[in-house]
């Protein structure tokens, strides 16, 4: 080996940047940089966007060439790379979404909903965007991605996963995409789900303002201060698990883990476990989940037309979910004596608790003495339930349409 070959070997990574693949790598570094910037500078879901951004940098580092075989043997990906191990251990087998839901369940307080159960219907109405996007995807996918034309199975499965982005619920989105074996599309789907979730404060307000008048946004709502009984708080997670497990069995893993976390919180005898689920478990899984998602953002999988389509449709889903909730509240107001502030309907999406906070802030901006946080929280936790049920329904129905084969 002469000196030139040694230098070439030594600086293989630098030379790689001057190839077409290398240029794509640079684009991915910029995208990763934007995610990290949004996390640090804008404080948009930093716990998720930062690990995703850094995972994307790691996944796009120049491949290491095996000196013996001459094949690319990436240091962090490849069959034994630590990011691949993380992905297989946590996302391919649906473990991270389940663990995250135990943590989320331990954080959720259902007592505002138990005091004002009528808010639960916003959790259903705000799933409208999922199904509207699902239908739109069925139309657009064969047009924008001609390679899918004629493959009904792929179109239906992809449309399902894109629609579920509107659930504003990352774990459910991953669960559905993984269930339908959409590994090639995991990167844009998960990035769309998590980045839009973090952009709720940017996406929701203009949609709400466009659909409501100032007078409607100033509607005040009464709140029953009486506390929910401890027995009810303990029974609720158990009954919800049994009911949804019987009616929509496909939602059982997610509902079950969410409600298990909630039972730990409410039982009153497992405070240590509850705190662990809310803090250590949530933090640990978030770090690993973020890195694993970032690892899917390899240039060749991400810099494609379908990424733009998925990102666009994901945004559409978020907008229509918000609109669905607001319009449903306005519809109910036609028949109610005690009017509902229609902004509360928008909190029916599952981005908990961010959406509720956004609604309260908007209400306060209109009227500094208007307090609708508890109603928004009720709608928001209902959205959490609604999105899981919607995910289970989509998996079941699309599975039936495909005869259980894909």
């Amino acid at each position: 080996m002469d000196i030139l070959e040694v230098l070439k070997e030594l600086f293989a990574g630098v030379l790689y940047l001057f190839t077409l693949e290398g240029l794509k790598t640079l684009v991915m570094f910029i995208i990763a940089g934007v995610l990290i910037y949004l996390a640090i500078k804008k404080d948009y879901e930093p716990a998720l966007l930062l690990p995703i951004g850094f995972g994307a940098i790691l996944a796009n580092l120049p491949p290491v060439i095996d000196q013996v075989t001459g094949a690319a043997a990436a240091s962090v990906l490849g069959s034994e790379g630590f990011l691949t191990v993380l992905f297989n251990a946590g996302i391919r087998n649906e473990m991270f979404p389940i663990l995250i839901f135990i943590a989320v369940g331990a954080m959720i307080d259902f007592s505002p909903l138990l005091k004002d159960p009528s808010m639960i219907f916003f959790g259903a109405a705000a799933q409208f965007g999922i199904f509207a996007t699902f239908l739109l995807s069925l139309v657009l996918i064969p047009i924008v991605l001609p390679q899918t034309a004629g493959d009904q199975s792929l179109i239906l499965r992809l449309a399902s996963a894109i629609g579920i982005i509107g659930a504003a619920d990352g774990p459910t989105t991953l669960y559905v995409a993984n269930h339908f074996n959409l590994v090639d599309y995991m990167a844009p789907i998960s990035v769309a789900a998590y980045s839009y979730m973090s952009l709720v404060p940017v996406i929701q307000p203009p949609v709400i303002r466009a659909l409501t008048s100032k007078k409607e946004r100033m509607i005040r709502m009464n709140y029953n201060e009486e506390r929910a009984s401890k027995t009810a708080l303990i029974l609720f997670p158990v009954i919800v698990t049994i009911v949804s497990g019987i009616i929509v069995p496909m939602s059982a893993p997610l509902v079950g883990s969410l409600m298990f976390g909630n039972l730990i919180r409410e039982c009153g005898v497992l405070e240590r476990l509850s705190k662990t689920a809310q803090n250590e478990l949530a933090n640990l899984v978030t770090i690993l989940l973020g890195l694993a998602i970032g690892s899917t953002m390899v240039a060749q999988n991400f810099l494609r037309l379908d990424t733009l389509l998925i990102m666009g449709l994901g945004l559409f889903a978020f907008v229509f979910d918000t609109a669905g909730g607001v319009l449903f509240a306005k519809f109910l107001n036609l028949f109610r004596k005690n009017k509902i502030n229609p902004m509360v309907g928008a909190a029916g999406i599952s981005a908990f608790p961010m959406s509720a906070r956004v609604i309260q802030k908007m209400a306060k901006d209109e009227d500094p003495y208007n307090f609708i946080l508890m109603q928004s929280i009720s709608a928001n936790v209902s959205g959490q339930l609604g999105s899981i049920v919607a995910g289970g329904m989509v998996i079941t129905l699309v599975g039936l349409m495909l005869g259980g084969v894909w």
Partner: protein
């Protein structure tokens, strides 16, 4: 008396779900899916209403 039921089941057998056109599958999934979400959440609503009868213990 139950003739309509057999007609429906015959139609269902004649057109299995897997043979439906793409958009029909989509529309069916949308309608049943949305109704299903409302149904399940309505059941939760009834559950909560029933549980509201359980009053919190008064602190002495």
């Amino acid at each position: 008396m139950f003739g309509w039921m057999s007609t429906m089941s015959e139609a269902a057998v004649a057109t299995p779900l897997t043979a439906l056109p793409l958009m029909s599958k989509g529309l069916l999934t949308t309608v049943i899916g949305l109704l299903g979400v409302f149904l399940v959440l309505s059941l939760f609503f009834v559950t909560i209403k029933l549980m509201q009868g359980i009053k919190p213990k008064e602190k002495k």
